[in-house]
Symmetry: C2
DNA sequence: TATTGTTATACTCTATAACTATA
DNA sequence: TATAGTTATAGAGTATAACAATA
């Protein structure tokens, strides 16, 4: 077999399949999130905020890999929707302390239901044992590459890229 | 454990890990491709063209999920670099037949070497047996979701998204 | 009339760099 | 002087809609 045929090791290797399936999974999840009127980055902030309440905007922007300047309107929208809350920090009046509101917590629970459904749909082809096996293998790879749990590189772009009509494939890149 | 804590099933599930690792793998591969002065979409076309020579621009744009209008300058650049060739189709003079040049074939072989290195680096944490096991599981999932072999959703965007300086993390989304 | 390749334009989103207020 | 939050602006990249040539 000629090496220059773009052979199976390139299209069927684990690395390519990871990239391809990862984008697919992220896109499907983004579709589901759209039903909750959330982008992947917004969902990421809600989850992150539930576990790290009271952090400043600067810290949160760093956590999610976003620019502070873009983080401002990003937070604005969620605050206007009553999902998160900006509290002034009395110790240092330059800082905000961001918190989830009760409404934000409600939406987060709905989000977790969606994520659980999504998980099952993606791994539908596997048995329960294989599903666990896959998770374990992926977690080991993620650990070795020192990926932060729960932080997706795609959060960097708060807005999903528009895809044209036809198939309902929103957000074909990585965020989920 | 409270469901609303953004618990482990959301951050450690296979679906999220797939999206996270997929974006990571795609980003790392994009960095390596930059060494060959190629974007992921360009690499995808070279590989696809090696196995599907003589197709029209319209067909190739459909294959890669790109808009025909954006496919034009996309092909222009590769043609100017002498990597691919537009041949007029004598049967239907509206169509071009795209082919890889010898130079394009050379670059493709270099690309496959890069892909092989990349594959090993991504799966470095796994034994040989586990690596094969992972590939098999991923392929079954990809088959069930009817993903086209070798076609990445990220090809839709021919240009990688710019990320800001610091860490050399080009293309954090899905294309590879 | 439909289709291929092409071009032009309007629009969306982003990074950069200022600016303010606090420290 | 340095930092948090904010705002404004210039630029990159895209989808949409036209267009000419050919069928």
């Amino acid at each position: 077999m000629n090496r220059a045929d773009g052979g199976p090791e390139a299209r069927g290797g684990a690395a390519f399949l990871l990239a391809q399936l990862g984008a697919h999974a992220a896109g499907r999840f983004a579709e589901r999130l759209a039903g909750l009127d959330l982008t992947p980055a917004q969902a990421g902030l809600l989850r992150h905020l539930a576990q790290n309440p009271g952090r400043s905007q600067r810290e949160l922007a760093d956590d999610l890999g976003m620019l502070p300047s873009r983080f401002v309107p990003f937070v604005d929208e969620l605050e206007e929707r009553g999902l998160i809350e900006r509290r002034k920090n009395p110790r240092d009046r330059r800082l905000y302390a961001l918190h989830l509101t009760p409404q934000g917590l409600d939406l987060l629970t709905a989000l977790l239901d969606v994520a659980a459904d999504h998980e099952q749909q993606i791994c539908q082809a596997l048995t329960r044992a294989e599903h666990q096996q896959l998770s374990a293998l992926l977690r080991r790879i993620a650990d070795q590459h020192e990926l932060s749990p729960g932080i997706h590189p795609g959060y960097r772009w708060s807005q999903p890229r528009r895809s044209r009509g036809g198939a309902p494939t929103s957000r074909a890149d990585g965020a989920g």
